[in-house]
Amino acid sequence: MSALAVHCRDVIKTYDTGEQKVAALRGIDLDIHTGRLMMLVGPSGCGKTTLISVIAGILDQDSGLCQVFGQDLLHLRQKERLRFRAENIGFVFQAYNLLPTLTAVENAAIPLIINGVKRVEAARRAAAMLDRVGLGDRLGALPAQLSGGQQQRVAIARALVHDPRLIVCDEPTSALDHETGHRVMELLKAIALDERKALVIVTHDARIFEFADGIAHMDDGHIIDLEDTHDAT
């Protein structure tokens, strides 16, 4: 039974650069249900990165409502918001953003350590997650010793290790070749999604649209088309 993971109504965000104001989001309405993979697509500068940042609670909208699992992050105190993010949101970045001096297992364990899990237990759970993404034999490898696809799998393990309910991904396949990108998406969809989780992916990569349950086409701060590629709940 799917539930509402993200609920956005009339979300507006304007960047004030000093010389001029740039409207990034001009009244976004969007619902994302659990068990679904939603893609935000559109040309550069259309507002999709701003939207994902607002949804993830790392950027404040100017007005409008954005709830994640019923929680309005804008009105949470800083400490509560950090705690909410740490417990409920997993991140996958375009450039992987792994800490270069930490091994794969240490990188994957970071969200658990932020959540107060003891280091030994965090390492054990991180190793188990790396095993699930097919890197059980590369636990001690540094990011520089891994291929791009392997690094992204470490990043996925890091995003999922603390069992978050919302996973936000920024261009997760753009730095990968077609075949590797395909494998990463299969992996993401296979292990990140279940009936209590939602996945939001910002992408330009049309090759991975086939994995989406819904696609929000954005342009100039608006969602111009909301496409349901599979049956919505």
Binding site: L59, K79, L82
Partner: protein, 375 residues
């Protein structure tokens, strides 16, 4: 993160700062201790009595001999002996002249002699024309040039001429180096009067021992009242001398400038490198922030890193200073490394690390985690 060059840069900056902040003050402390080392060497007396105008140990203003008897008459004085201290030219066997610091000791007790006798006995001063010479003077300035150009140290039985009077070396003593570079020649007070140029007053200091259970501080005040002279405990006279050199020479300023420069250069290198270190890894901090790490956590991370490089740099700097002191232990260089210097330099390095961390922390605290989604 992962930048070995920058890491070494920070550690080297802190090592340099720590080295300068310990080595220069250690030389300064060693040098300042030399200002009163003669007082320390004399050791036994509790109180030094002198002309009220005397400002430091080498500022001798002679007293009349009868003052000695007035001091001996003060209640609480166990004993009081005279001490002569003056510069006299010595004529060496090869005809060269060398100014010497001649110390005339009480004939009966020989109080005030060198703390350690390396050759001969102090009692031999009671023999005719006898003098005891300090080892550094015997080896360096009073030594005669040998065939290979190196000085041949003065030895027992060698003779000098002090003010046209013969002086026979009967002992070699070990003394602590003082500010004055002249050799130290010990003899009896009576003989020193013969060596010294004719003057109406020749008594330099009166050395006093307080009676048992007599408070030396109270006795100094009583002596001053009774005689009109200045009387100081050994510690107070050391302090008077130390303060004179602190106030009236450029030594503290020179060393202060060195230490300040070391601090500033260390802070600049460490601060700048640490800052650029943080700036290059700002995105990583953003990732941690996005994942829910609070400013407090990131602040502790930065402080831990700063403390770690600080501890390594401090340890290396202090180690190098100790090595320097050990290597220079038998040279003319003044070097004293008390534990207080470890504390002060530790505080200095801590301040540098805090400064380096603070300028980085500002950036990290102001960082918007949304930066992680920017290309």
């Amino acid at each position: 993160m992962g930048d070995r060059g920058k890491y070494l840069g920070i550690v080297m900056g802190l090592t340099f700062a720590s080295l300068i902040m310990t080595q220069q003050p250690a030389i300064f402390v060693g040098l300042m201790m030399r200002s009163y080392s003669f007082i320390t060497d004399v050791g036994l007396p509790d109180i030094w009595v002198m002309d009220p105008k005397v400002q430091f140990i080498d500022d001798v203003k002679p007293l009349q001999d009868m003052k000695l008897f007035r001091v001996r008459g003060v209640e609480g004085v166990e004993w009081a002996v005279p001490l002569y201290k003056g510069l006299i030219k010595a004529r060496l066997a090869n005809g060269n002249f060398q100014t010497c610091n001649v110390i005339g000791l009480d004939d009966a007790s020989l109080i005030g002699g060198p703390p350690v006798m390396l050759e001969g006995r102090l009692e031999d001063l009671r023999r005719g024309d006898a003098v005891v010479v300090d080892r550094d003077g015997a080896v360096e300035k009073l030594g005669l040039p040998g065939p290979d150009g190196k000085p041949i140290p003065l030895k027992l039985g060698d003779t000098l001429e002090l003010n046209d009077r013969r002086a026979i070396v009967v002992g070699i003593g070990k003394t602590t180096r003082t500010f004055q570079s002249q050799p130290v020649v010990y003899t009896t007070y009576t003989r020193a009067m013969l060596y010294a140029p004719r003057e109406r007053k020749l008594l330099s200091f009166i050395l006093v021992k307080a009676r048992p259970r007599q408070d030396p501080g109270a006795l100094t005040r009583r002596i001053a009242r009774a005689t009109g002279l200045a009387a100081y405990t050994q510690q107070d006279f050391q302090k008077l001398t130390y303060d004179y050199f602190m106030k009236n020479t450029g030594i503290p300023i020179n060393f202060g400038i060195s230490v300040t420069l070391g601090f500033i250069v260390g802070a600049a290198i460490a601060g700048q490198t640490f800052y650029s270190f943080t700036m290059e890894n700002l995105r990583q901090f953003g990732v941690l922030k996005a994942m829910g790490a609070g400013n407090g956590t990131l602040l502790r991370m930065i402080l831990l890193q700063a403390a770690l490089v600080g501890a390594i740099g401090y340890g290396l700097g202090v180690g190098l200073t100790s090595l320097f002191g050990w290597a220079m232990r038998n040279t003319i260089l003044a070097f004293k490394f008390p534990w207080q210097l470890l504390v002060y330099s530790g505080l200095g390095v801590t301040l540098i690390c805090m400064f380096a961390a603070l300028i980085s922390i500002r950036k990290v605290i102001a960082l918007e985690p949304a930066v992680v989604f920017k290309g």
